[in-house]
Symmetry: D2
Subunit: 343 residues, 4 copies
């Protein structure tokens, strides 16, 4: 029985062969646990090459772990975090941010899931008023949950605004590689150069087996985070296996090859379906996701052959994600099937 590649999620894909190889290569002998080993040091060094020498890097297991570790590091329970009402931290973490950080999340509605200085402002009040959770962090997702991408200028504008209110800017970068490719910029330009304070750097959706990184702009912001990671259950003992994956991802631009490919597959898919009048693309296709409204009768038969998820069941909006291992044949086969079903 083989596992068909579908368009459900980039985390439905497997592990990139180079990553598997990197894992095997560190599988020798004993090294000290919990990150006090040379592989972890090397991986952190790679991050410093990419993000600048001042960043602090901690590896964790998954995106939720990275996000709640970031939030706890820079907030207290009486704080509020402003985020999109479509964001992963708001919708897809079963309340982990609220429970673990104790904070209130203040949702912002925007159809493209992008925060702006303008739409953030609705929550910028009540400072010093003890009855209100005190806004302390803005969290944006890059690439957003609907496949859109913030420009560097958009991030800078938010960062400046946020800092002018004594707040911090967090980026949930579960798909940050796809964003960097989309913008044609470096990670650093898009994040710390633009004023980001802390970044959840995604690995799993770009070919890793497990592992994300929490990256702080500087040491001071990361002051207590090692305790927070541990108390949040996100400290791995055999750390070399996360470290080796990240080192490989940041070596020879593997991150970029993977993300470029995924983005390209989404572009092709979007292009092909944009010519089908029964299908309405609902979001700009800027990274590796295609969101569109499709005739209801297509959905079940399509899912049977290429699994994917509803985005908004009420209006037959679906989400098609591409991945580092999506092939052009996958896309062609999928589009052919759509056309066949539409006849």
């Amino acid at each position: 029985m083989s596992n068909i590649r579908g368009f459900a999620s980039d985390n439905n894909s497997g592990v990139h062969p180079d990553i598997l190889k990197a894992i095997s290569e560190v599988n020798e002998g004993h090294v000290v646990g919990y990150g006090d080993d040379r592989y972890t040091a090397e991986a952190i060094e790679k991050f410093r090459e990419v993000f600048g020498p001042d960043v602090e890097v901690l590896f964790v297991y998954n995106g939720t772990g990275a996000n709640v570790t970031s939030i706890q590091a820079l907030t207290r329970p009486f704080n509020a975090v402003i985020c999109s009402d479509l964001s992963h931290i708001y919708v897809d973490e079963c309340g982990a941010p609220e429970k673990l950080a104790g904070c209130k999340l203040l949702p912002v509605h925007a159809s493209d899931a992008k925060l702006t200085v303008e739409n953030i402002k609705q929550h910028i009040h009540g400072f010093g008023f003890e009855h209100h959770s005190q806004p302390k962090m803005v969290s944006i997702t890059q690439v957003t949950e609907v496949g859109t991408v913030y420009t560097i200028d958009e991030i800078k504008a938010i960062a400046d605004f946020v800092h002018s209110h004594g707040m911090y800017l967090h980026v949930d970068g579960a798909r940050i590689s796809n964003a960097a490719v989309a913008l044609g910029c470096s990670f650093k330009e898009m994040t710390f150069d633009a004023g980001v304070d802390v970044l959840s750097f995604g690995g799993t959706k770009n070919g890793l087996m497990f592992g994300e990184a929490v990256v702080f702009a500087n040491e001071k912001l990361a002051e207590n985070v090692k305790y927070i990671r541990k108390q949040t259950t996100q400290l791995h003992s055999k750390m070399r296996y996360i470290a080796a994956q990240f080192k490989a991802l940041l070596t020879d631009d593997l991150w970029k090859k993977n993300a470029s490919h995924a983005n390209k597959m989404a572009q092709i898919l979007a292009e092909k379906v944009s010519g089908i009048p029964e299908i309405e693309i609902t979001q700009k296709v800027e990274a590796n996701g295609v969101f569109c409204i499709v005739p209801e009768k297509l959905i079940k038969p399509l899912q049977d052959e290429y699994f994917f998820y509803f985005w908004d069941e009420f209006r037959n909006e679906v989400r098609w994600m591409t991945s580092f291992d999506t092939t052009e044949e996958d896309v062609n086969g999928f589009v052919e099937l759509i056309k066949k079903l539409l006849k």
Copy 2:
């Protein structure tokens, strides 16, 4: 540069080759994330073969995650959990149980780290008295943190006592394979047959790369645990890679081979050092750990060649852990070095 095998911890070891192979074998195509895939189903089926058809199994990332998921599943924040004052949940999880479950941990002191009906009783009072955290769970560690092993009868006695007070019995089984080998019994006899309600089943310390399992005696006890796992940040997206490891571990008795070997290495080490008058073994060597007081002058030079940890610095007590990959040459070399240093 090669990584010397030391005696620091069984989690300083790498990944068993059969586990790595199992990982590679599932690395094809796409499967649905978060455990809704056939590999996870197969791994759970393996657990049911081993533990009985009624158990509920959830995979998590690590031991702290397994423990706090277990505790949250069967307690409320106004409850208390009784445990050894040497236990991992009490000493080594940076307060994760208190923060995530909201519970009080009630410590019991025993030099062999083993709870008994007798020493538990000190905390069995105040039921119905709202000023006191209500005892609801007893948590034992098998193998204990000092290398001792509960007999089946000891576990049964605790389980009976605990249940007679409307409480639950949790086992932190980070090294449960070593215990099963030590007792020469099945996992089932030692746990659910003996009255255990929930088990943190350890994988990482017995040759896995990452992954532990939370195993409940029955479905009812596990009622809400899938939400708890998610909110605790312990739900992995690419679940097949944890599942494949556990399936391999429970296939062809790999767990037993690994644990038997580790235990045997500890026995050999203990035997050899027991003949050295300057060394005092401080705990029964029942599994894969040797605890002993050694002359201070040995410690640093020994650690330089074979890394290990202090257990009690004040009295020069050290902990030597063996692993599935410890060789008899490692043990011999270590003992020779001790003898050489003592001359």
Copy 3:
């Protein structure tokens, strides 16, 4: 220096003389602390006369305490509570519900701050989906934060809907006496007869010095609440002083006299300002609050003589609350001042 009565809040008022008298009358000798005394038993008995024999009643300090105790009693941290985005639990408790219950609050926007089956439905999904906080409670405020009142039928409709999804209905009744007066019904008809599961029964805003009550429809719902109240820091030692106040409030319809008077004052105020063309009343005046948009130039001089709060500073909307001790002279003086300032 005397304290001018303003229109800021019903909690700016003092304590009703009958309540002060009731306090003095229990101030003799020793009684057991924490509610195990005859005064507390008598007060609970009064609640059972009013709400029916099955209710469970616990006294707490304040409204936030009553609300978070209610939420914790009927939810787990992976649950969500649906509420108005103008509600006290959402806006005015500095994140206490999120931190103490660990839950997510799901906001509903409605300009009159009233939930309906229709506007609740947007959050009724994702049951069984572990990535989403599981909706378990709907919380409505009666009287709402903008002075509107749910009819009994509206409450029944919500309760039926909520129960059909295995959820609970909570009422934040900080001003429930004003609502009962407005509807001309008993407390019981409006709450437990209509399907409410738990009620925060307000005292402080209706003439008490301190103290609110948490009232559960039945014993089963209140199973663990005494521990929750204690752990939430809401258990008073000298309980007789809260109990005596509530007994007095529920004796000889003191609650009704106070609330009727406050409501009547709001009616008079609304009637008088409704004739002033420069002022736009923005919400139905159904209880003891008048919300209106006033010319900006009036606000500061008015506040200097009769303190009150902005409701929405951006559009010069203000909130005028009346209280059991507001006099017709206060209202007349206030309206005269408005008219004078408008000239």
Copy 4:
């Protein structure tokens, strides 16, 4: 039916008449809620007269509220608080400190319930080691839960030690007035002059109806505490009624009169029973509590006439507390009954 004065607890007593009077005197007109009123300002001013001009003062409802507010202000969830295993925060708050602060409490055993540099040291390790909750606060109770009193020098020694490790010293002063009387010193000498960082200042056990104060040594320590108080459900709306009580307590030495009387009654009681050979006094009688082992046959009949609590049921140790309203007749009657029962 009259309420016999017993020896159960100082919180079984009523409210001192001067306190009731002070409450009545502020019961006029409207004042702004939540502490922004002149009565609260006056009460805080009184505190600054007593404790020095730099202290920050916040009023809360009760002792548990004061303690968990103090802990949250100066710790993060990954911290640990060292305390006596007989302390109120450890034993009598149903896990509120663990749940609300998220911290671990590290218990110290001492038969007189007093911490010392020596017995604290067992927990002073693991700094910087992320697996361990990081010790950040020592909490002592003055008067202790067994009626003993720390000398100023003892407090200074602990404070110096604590500060030398970058930690804070908290005093649970539920009975701090009794301690000040016992030592014949001012509040200031015993607390902030001695190096205390934050104090839970008790009112309820010394004649108040409700209300405790959290007092910080300086503004910096209190930086975020107003949000913490609110989120902890401890902010009262009609604050003037707590403020008026505290102002009265600190005026004309009412606190001292009440505490002196209570202490004296305990001295008399202790003196009288010390002559009874069947009774063994188990703790130094330094404040307003007498702890002793009494013949089992006495306990039930004594309790029937003068209620009190067991301290240690296993050895028939009981606790007799005196209060501001205990009379010499009460003591004499009680002792006579003992003697009669012993015949």
